[in-house]
Amino acid sequence: MSEPILRARGLRKAFGRTEALRGVSVEIQPGEIVAVTGPSGSGKSTLLLTLAGILRPESGEVLYDGASLADLGEDARTKLRRRQFGVLLQFGHLVPELTAVQNVALPLLLEKHDRAASRRSALGWLERLGVDGLADVLPGEMSGGEMQRVALARALVTGPRVLFADEPTGALDTVSGDEVLTVLLAEAKQAGSTVLVVTHDNRVAARADREIVLRDGAVDDTWGAA
């Protein structure tokens, strides 16, 4: 087995008196598609945001390619997320004033890419995800599924090595959710990206290579043992 791309050791994270993570340790292999499941309040999103370097754990560490994220300053973590990671959230959270193509081009412009080249690249991703007709449409005029596809294009446009998706189909109807998930998995497979997807949906979990079940802030080792 190859070296894990992400490794978490003994992660602990609390919000006030609520302990969201209680000593979680996981390993993610390159190219793996991993679903993180569990009941509400089990710490799924907290684990995802901590692995992505968005939240800092109180104790324990996250290693990306063998290097500890704790050793990185805020600027370095920001650049790491921009260049190596893609983040997809439940409601897309597109910038409401920007059109679809402008939203997708944002990460490229942040990397100081040429304006025209960024637009071309963004248009290419919109086309791949079947929403090129919405290039000049504002998020407020899109359906939930369309918004999520545009958000997926924004997450993938930099060619991330790891895609973190937090309930990517949670706000969508069954048909739209299936469509978004199919596109997400197909594009990730094609790009060789590692995918970590937090979900409540058993159908999403069933399409992953592996499932990590959390319960009360800890990995449920008993799941699937029977």
């Binding site: 939240l55 997320r81 983040v87 439940q90 920007l98």
Partner: protein, 455 residues
């Protein structure tokens, strides 16, 4: 209903309540000063600064006081808009609890009206404080100034601006307090006119059309009147009083034109910048202006007024530079007033900026999560404000300078006409930087990716 509105006022937070009260207090005090000027006889029984003492310039001083009241009024509107999301949630919760749309609107108005009325009452005290601190000296006053008065005098120097031998009639106090309170209520209704109360939350009415440059029409009319001022046959037949009223009316027209032009200018500069920019900060700031230019335009409108007065001031300074002795006091006073107005504009810009980031919390937090540095978000706030505040101030300064130069051209005015817009633009950019710096804790809080979502 009043008790419920009081609860809403407390829920809105003390900073908003205090800012609302402060705005109406300043407006009330300034209006009472204007009324006191109107009560002064041609030969006052007190020593006042020449700009107030002389009947020839008293109208201009009254106009200046009215102009000074404009930035607090703009700030009042901004403060009402402050925390709009939370306010809408509160009002929507009332709808769910069974309040009718009419009751919700009334509550929204009272919620703003209570602090406005309290501020208007405090404004009366502020007026009397101004009388004590910057009042005239009675001709028959031979008392030795108290230690306190001496201390105050060391700070304010020879500022004798508020008449003490006359006072506004009692009914004018009532009229001003009631009028300013109602103005606060009206601003409250104006600020929520774009939303419709529903039991599921307040829903904004559909996308609004881009603003139109109607302000240009008013400015052009002011220029036409100003040009005809010296050439028209009726100019010679005007009395001093009519002359002053005409001048103040022209300045008021130019001010109203400039300030109502601000939203259109915000939309225009945003559009031009967004079409050419490749920097993320500029794109974000400019697109916000294109998407909804009115809030930023209103926040920056005061900068246009400051520019107009500053432009005229600079040309006047150039005109009397050889003989500034008699004008030094009034000119320094106008400069101080401009500085005070600029501080109010800083407040207005800061309130707008914090409202923008709070309203866009999810998308800004998502931007941070995908690797957007906080410095880019902060720079986008500066661009959003700067793209409207700097042009409107520069245009205002140029208009003010040309306006005064057109009345009576002197060769030395050329430098002032060029320098005034440049310096004003730079000062307003500095105001933008300070405003965004003031709200940086709020921006830091909003861009904290830890707020994204956590179970």
């Amino acid at each position: 209903m009043i008790r419920l509105a009081g609860t809403l006022v407390r829920a809105a937070g003390w900073p908003r309540t205090l800012l609302l009260a402060a705005c109406t207090a300043v407006v009330t005090a300034l209006l009472l000063v204007v009324i006191a000027y109107a009560e002064l006889p041609a030969q006052p029984d007190e020593w006042l600064m020449s700009v107030v003492y002389d009947t020839g310039t008293r109208g201009g001083a009254a106009g200046g006081a009215l102009v000074l009241a404009l930035p607090p009024l703009v700030l009042l509107h901004q403060v009402v808009r402050f925390g709009t999301s939370a306010r809408e949630r509160r009002l929507a919760a009332l709808r769910l609890a069974g309040a009718t749309p009419r009751e919700v609107r009334r509550l929204g108005a009272i919620e703003v009206g209570i602090p406005s009325a309290a501020g208007a009452l405090l404004g009366v005290l502020l007026f009397w404080l101004l009388r004590a601190v910057a009042g005239g000296i009675r001709h028959d006053d031979v008392r030795t100034p108290s230690m306190y008065a001496q201390q105050v005098h060391r700070f304010v120097g020879n500022v004798h601006l508020v008449p003490v031998t006359v006072a506004p009639p009692w009914w004018s106090y009532v009229a001003v307090v009631v009028g300013v309170s109602l103005l606060g209520v009206a601003v409250g209704l104006f600020a929520t006119r774009a939303v419709v109360a529903t039991p599921l939350g307040l829903v904004r009415r559909g996308r609004r059309a881009a603003p139109r440059p109607w302000g240009l029409v008013v400015i052009v009319l002011a220029i036409v009147f100003a040009t005809s001022y010296t050439s028209a046959a009726w100019y010679d037949r005007m009395s001093d009083d009519e002359d002053q009223i005409f001048g103040v009316a022209l300045v008021a027209m130019a001010l109203v034109g400039l300030m109502s032009l601000a939203p259109w200018l915000a939309w225009l500069t945003g559009r031009v910048a967004a079409a050419r920019a490749s920097s993320v900060a500029v794109v974000l700031g400019a697109r916000r202006l294109v998407h909804d230019p009115r809030p930023a335009g209103r926040a920056a409108a005061g900068a246009g007024g400051i520019g107009l007065v500053a432009g005229g001031w600079a040309v006047f300074v150039a005109d009397v530079s050889g003989d500034s002795g008699g004008y030094a006091g009034p000119l320094a006073l106008v400069a101080l007033m401009l500085l005070a107005a600029l501080l109010v504009v800083v407040g207005s810009l800061a309130v707008h900026s914090v409202e923008q980031v709070v309203d866009r919390r999810p998308s800004i937090a998502a931007l941070a999560a995908m690797g957007t540095p906080r410095s880019v978000v902060t720079a986008s706030q500066r661009w959003e404000l700067g793209l409207v505040a700097v042009p409107i101030a520069t245009i205002g300064a140029l208009a003010g300078a040309l306006f005064l130069a057109s009345v009576e051209w002197e060769p030395g005015m050329g430098v002032a006409i060029v320098a005034a817009p440049v310096v004003t633009g730079l000062l307003v950019w500095l105001a933008v930087v300070i405003a965004v710096g003031l709200v940086s804790p709020a921006t830091r809080h909003v861009t904290d990716v830890a707020h994204l979502r956590a179970e």
